[in-house]
Chain length 234, copies 2
């Protein structure tokens, strides 16, 4: 019972960080968080140290925990590394998945689909995260899994806008993402590594286009006059 509160606290903190409810760099107050989760500072601090080693937060000497930042240089590396890690994981997931794991993945995909169609951005992001984490578990590769989890922290935080469709284009993208997930499940279930890799890379391309737009948004229009012709451009 008591231990449940601790794991729940850790899980909730992770979720809040992934949802950017706790923004990068945000200061984490021990006393208020401990009160919030109904535990004392001792177990909370143990959670902090766990999250620090997982890459969610960093702990500074005598000034407590802060949400891990997302500096620009790292983002560049993120885009460089994602295809390698995601495709390697996909390959091994297709090779090593168990049928129980496939069933679990389908459950997650079902929940994800519902949330995405309902336009619940926060929940979609978390379920998308869970989806890819589950594929990571299928790979049975603790080494790459560690890399994957760190990628997903940043990926989910960056993609927070992804599942909040505004334009009809956005909605089409979300629909495509759902379909890609379904295809990935099939490839993994059929144990076809090379197909799983292809689908994963396509999925990454879709996500990357959106993320890059977020990181490097369209510049504001220079010619003010022409704005009249496309009033919703911004």
């Amino acid at each position: 019972m008591a231990k449940l509160k601790k794991t729940k606290c850790a899980a909730d903190l992770r979720a809040r960080i992934l949802r950017q409810e706790l923004a990068p760099g945000c200061d984490l107050d021990e006393v208020s968080l401990a009160a919030e989760y109904g535990i004392s500072r001792t177990p909370l601090r143990e959670v902090f140290h766990r999250l620090a080693a997982e890459g969610y937060i960093r702990i500074e000497e005598n000034r407590g925990g802060k949400v891990a930042s997302m500096d620009f240089p790292v983002l560049r590396v993120f885009f460089q590394t994602a295809p390698l890690v995601y495709s390697s994981i996909a390959r091994q997931a297709a090779e090593n998945r168990t049928s129980v794991q496939v069933a679990g993945l389908k459950d997650t995909q079902l929940a994800f689909t519902k949330a995405a169609r309902a336009g619940d951005a926060a929940q979609s992001g978390l379920l998308n995260h869970a989806f890819h984490e589950q594929i990571g578990e299928m790979a049975q590769n603790p080494y790459l899994f560690a890399a994957l989890m760190r990628m997903l922290i940043d990926h989910t935080r960056l993609g927070q806008t992804f599942f909040a469709p505004q334009s009809s284009e956005d909605q089409a993208r979300v629909k495509k993402a759902i379909e890609q997930h379904d295809a990935m499940i099939s490839a993994i279930e059929a144990q076809e590594p090379s197909l799983a890799i292809d689908l994963t890379l396509q999925h990454w391309e879709l996500s990357r286009d959106q993320l890059e737009k977020f990181v490097r948004p369209d510049p504001l229009p220079i010619d003010v006059i022409s704005m009249k012709d496309r009033p919703r451009a911004v």
Copy 2:
């Protein structure tokens, strides 16, 4: 001062696990370890949670910390994954290294060479670990770095015998490893990624041959008579 004891405790525990002084699966008693490091159980447990998330130990509900095991299925994955991670790290290290980091790497290599030539197996293993960790830091890739660190935990533990040369063959291998390190430093310093990758893969081959011998040792001789002809075969 007090915080130093904590980081020292964490570093020492890591080293003891890497040296297999604390064997895989070994139980970690909180009170005795706390006493040993001159700290109370509270900070020690925080260290435990850190090490758990780093993959050095695992913490079981109500029965404390145990050194992470090295099960056989994972070893298979280890050999599969090492070339990918090590070579990717090497590439980016050559691309992104700073001169300060190169200087640090040379220092480590110097200490490593001394320890290896002196036949100090434990120290050699740790310094070899530090050498490859420093290359990991040069890569400036937190995602792959996480994978690397997990690989090195198992690599260093497995290779514990590597730097305890018994036969003259073993001594030749250690000498070759030292030379390969030097060549890797040069490639990284010269910022030649493809060369760094080649050298890293060669280095891995050398290590792999030795490790596989450790994991899958030569079978005991079946023909007892022939033993007389090669008394040091076992």
